[in-house]
Symmetry: C2
Subunit: 193 residues, 2 copies
């Protein structure tokens, strides 16, 4: 089975492709270089659907897309769908610095947060979606060299280190993205049989 | 009756003093130059109480403080209590620019917002609080020269111009702060009789 991953990020295609093809026999994840729609949805799901629908419309092949972010409780769930451009542009360093500055005076007990990932799958047979949530809290400063996005400022529940300090294999076994991919793989295996 | 306004902003003292003394006979609003506590509350009310309690503890006189902000629906109520330092520092221009950049792809129907102001009054006889809400939406660009804070990017319900384009008298008759002050004045007049 071929599935288009609706992103221009070839690194992401090879990373997710390796995970998914290990979990789903005969699956091939394809890249996408067609038009990218404006992500003007009001939720992770809407944005993932917008991207997956655009790729399906352009390629005619089953297409998937993910939308993810960090939801901070005292910010009412923000940055949320605005996580990637929280500081105004697509600059992860600026995004993290801004979040830490906004929460500067917030004590640890009020720094609860969660990483959220929603994957949408759109094909000739319909649409499906899968969401993974990784709870934790926002750190007071950046720590760690692994990972990307908000990993260096996110301390997962049960740990005293950030997601960027975790061994990538540990992270990839429990992250929001891993949980969503796991559900997707289960679904793909079920419909293949 | 003398009430301390728990702010180092003398402009604010004279502005609110004029409004309140017009509404409450014999009221004198005093400035404050004592210690300023860390505003680490998790709501407008908690922050207003923190400031008013600190001023009451320092002066022994009835003290009031306000906390206000802009709550954007699609941001889950953020910037909220973080409005004044949304971009990381206390820079209104940067705060407004950041909010507009974050909402760049958000269509008009999803730009609902409200200005919120909570006033806390703390004295020997106890504590009271008053909240005013001014509904509207976030504009797509700055407009207008009046006002301050988020006024140039906030279009009040029933208008097609920003709060910074309104005649200051119009704004001061209907704003979140005006509504909260009106409740405070009613309360002060009631306890004076």
């Amino acid at each position: 089975m071929q599935i288009v991953l609706a992103t221009h990020n070839v690194h992401k295609v090879s990373e997710l492709g390796a995970i998914l093809s290990a979990a789903v026999e005969g699956l091939e994840l394809l890249g996408y270089d067609g038009p990218e729609p404006v992500e003007d949805g009001t939720s992770y799901l809407e944005n993932a659907l917008i991207k997956a629908r655009a790729a399906f419309a352009h390629t005619g092949l089953p297409s998937m897309a993910d939308d993810s972010g960090i939801a901070v409780e005292i910010l009412g769930g923000s940055p949320g769908i605005f996580s990637a451009r929280w500081a105004g542009g697509r600059d992860n360093i600026a995004n993290r610095r801004l979040l830490l500055a906004q929460l500067r005076d917030v004590v640890e007990e009020h720094r609860a947060a969660a990483f959220v990932c929603t994957i949408a799958l759109v094909g000739p047979d319909g649409e499906a979606s899968f969401t993974g949530i990784w709870p934790g809290r926002v750190a007071f400063e950046e720590q760690g060299e692994h990972g990307f996005g908000y990993d260096p400022v996110f301390i997962p529940e049960g740990f005293e280190v950030t997601a960027a300090e975790l061994d990538p294999e540990v992270k990839n076994s429990m992250s929001h993205r891993a949980l969503a991919l796991e559900q997707l793989a289960t679904y793909l295996n079920a419909i293949a049989n």
